[in-house]
């Protein structure tokens, strides 16, 4: 393989990895956009979604699409309950307090999953046969295409919901000013519940796709990808839907570039260094608008 062909192949790999980050980052950024909460438990809902999908396929014997829908519904329920029990009582508290309950929720979901589902690594049922699509000298797998396609599709759907529907309008109103939204007759509690339901359902879809892509799920699978997805969301500009996808793809490509041209042992360090440098020049993320400082 000549080096430029390999570079192209690595770009494809990087985009596929980036799509994984983007899928998780979408739900992250959405919840953040509406209620300004770093939902640390998002990565764990993603893990739960993967397990729900796993049991829907292996125990309930569902085929892939109904299994994904079941899992999304289950995760949405968990997300709404989580918000109701752990976050809502703290809505008027300092943001850092909610962050700590989110970390607590994350730990709780991890250990509960470990106890209920077992600590072992489970192979995910391979619902889609594997295919390799040759594009001249390079190739892409059907699963990589699927993940990339779903990430872009969900981004478009989410963007449409947030910007062109009544629900989205209400969400944006809540995001700007909760009290004013309440005065305008918007049921703030319900809008926030809906946000969590959507964010968690997105996470579940991501969990199943990624579980299938890598063929492995475990109770801690949400931890590192969750962290990386959060970083990706911040990189793209947190709270901005297309930003999550841009940030995710960029992170994926950057990581693969580091491996290709340099040392794979330093991959994570270089990825974080790039992040810090980008943030220094664009303090609100790549797609973030410069905030106006209010005096």
């Amino acid at each position: 393989m000549a080096w430029h062909i390999m570079a192209l192949q690595q770009l494809i790999n990087g985009l596929a990895l980036g799509s994984v980050y983007a899928l998780i980052a979408l739900g992250y950024t959405m919840v953040y956009g509406i209620i300004k909460l770093i939902n640390f438990a998002h990565g764990d809902i993603y893990m739960l979604g993967a397990y729900f999908g796993f049991y829907a396929i292996t125990v309930l014997k569902l085929s892939l699409v109904p299994a994904v829908l079941t899992s999304m519904a289950g995760a949405a329920l968990v997300g709404v309950l989580l918000e109701r029990i752990a976050y809502r009582p703290l809505r008027n508290s300092p943001r850092i307090a909610v962050l700590i309950t989110a970390i607590g929720a994350s730990l709780l979901l991890q250990s509960t999953a470990q106890l209920v589902f077992g600590a072992s690594f489970k192979p995910f049922p391979q619902a889609i046969p594997f295919r390799r699509i040759q594009l001249g000298p390079v190739f892409i797998t059907n699963r990589q295409l699927l993940i990339f396609g779903v990430a872009v599709l969900l981004m478009v759907i989410l963007h449409i919901i947030v910007h062109y529907t009544k629900l989205g309008k209400a969400m944006r109103a809540v995001s700007m000013d909760k009290e004013a939204a309440l005065l305008m007759g918007i049921n703030v509690d319900r809008i926030i519940s809906a946000t969590f339901a959507m964010g968690s359902a997105l996470a579940a879809a991501a969990g199943i796709l990624v579980g299938m892509y890598y063929n492995r799920i475990d109770p801690y699978m949400g931890m590192m990808p969750g962290l990386k997805a959060f970083v990706a969301a911040v990189l793209g500009g947190i709270g901005i839907v297309p930003g999550a996808v841009v940030g995710g793809l960029l992170m994926g490509v950057a990581e693969n570039v580091v491996v290709t041209i340099g040392s794979s042992t330093l991959r994570d360090a270089v990825a974080f260094a790039i992040l810090i440098v980008v943030l220094l020049f664009r303090p609100n993320g790549l797609l973030g608008k410069k905030g106006i400082e209010k005096v």
């Binding site: 607590g104 709780l108 330093l266």
Partner: protein, 319 residues
């Protein structure tokens, strides 16, 4: 009054130390307990120093374990490879961490809130990956054979030193400037407070003490592993939890929370798999009922306690 109260506090602290020593000699306190108490002291240093950055200056750092790592590894390298005296190693560990704090403080000039949090998290992970790839300090195998120099007495002394220095700092003019930066950066600037300077100062001092805590930690455990729960983001988050639980901007809160949260996992150890379910539930419940932390912005004080006791006595007399 102030001098008298300081004297009384000093006597109480000395008595506490003597009591521990006495109980240890009598065999009531086992090495097991003394080891936990030492860890409590190390955690107190970590939490109080993070409080200076997050609580008093209003920054949002979640990379505190990075400073701990620098102090821990640098000091261990000095005592193991160069046979340096421990005190010298502690100071060097602190100074190196302080320099790193200076470097991390600089991005803080441009970044705010969650963006700063991510930058500090990234910094912490970079430190960890560098250590992981440095063979001179053991790389992935970890750094072993560190002498056990950390005694309870030393950790206790360092914890008191940290608390006194940081308390005096936050009640000084410098500290007031930091508080001003936290409350309203623009207003502070317009009053002539150089917010840049104070942010970097807070990061440097906080990092210095985290570095000394790291030095104590590596010579306490005698082994350092570059794992997330030892020097990575898991450790940073542990420290953050202690800080927020105690209350941002409350030094006594930090102390109480650091001690409590060091002891609780130990008490729960017998519950095996259920341990890590009980702990987060406790955490969530406490945050729901005390969202601003156990001692939100308040301090436990001697006069407070005497007033409380007097009040209780007066109450008792009435009935």
């Amino acid at each position: 009054m102030n001098k008298l109260s300081s004297l009384i506090k000093g006597i109480i602290l000395l008595l506490a130390y003597l009591v521990v020593q006495l109980l240890e000699r009598q065999g009531v306190l086992l090495p097991y307990h003394v080891q936990i108490l030492s860890l409590c002291c190390i955690n107190v240093i970590l939490v109080v120093s993070l409080n200076l950055i997050n609580g008093f200056t209003g920054q949002f750092s979640i990379g505190h374990a990075g400073f701990l790592a620098i102090g821990a590894y640098a000091s261990a390298y000095l005592t193991v490879v160069w046979q340096a005296p421990f005190l010298f190693a502690i100071i060097c560990g602190g100074v190196l961490a302080g320099i790193a704090g200076l470097a991390v403080g600089l991005p803080a000039l441009r970044l705010r809130g969650d963006y700063l949090a991510i930058a500090t998290l990234g910094f912490g992970e970079i430190i960890r990956v560098i250590i992981l790839n440095t063979d001179a300090v053991g790389g992935a195998r970890g750094f072993s054979g560190i002498p056990k120099y950390t005694t309870f007495g030393l950790a206790y002394l360092m914890a008191i030193f940290t608390v006194v220095v940081i308390r005096n700092f936050v009640t000084s003019d410098y500290g007031r400037a930091c508080l001003a930066v936290r409350e309203d950066e623009i207003a502070a600037e317009s009053l002539g407070v150089n917010s840049t300077y104070f942010k970097v100062l807070a990061f440097t001092i906080g990092a210095f003490f985290a570095g000394t805590a790291g030095a104590l930690f590596s010579h306490y455990l005698q082994y350092m592993a570059p794992t997330p729960n030892q020097i990575g983001f898991v450790k940073s988050i542990d420290i953050l939890i202690m800080l927020v639980l105690g209350g941002l901007g409350s030094i006594t809160g930090s102390i109480v929370a650091a001690i409590t949260l060091t002891i609780i996992p130990e008490l729960l150890r017998g519950f095996a798999e259920y341990r890590m379910i009980i702990y987060p539930i406790l955490l969530i419940i406490v945050m729901i009922y005390r969202p601003a932390g156990l001692l939100a912005g308040n301090e436990l004080s001697l006069s407070g306690i005497t007033q409380f006791v007097k009040g209780a006595r007066a109450h008792g007399n009435h009935t």
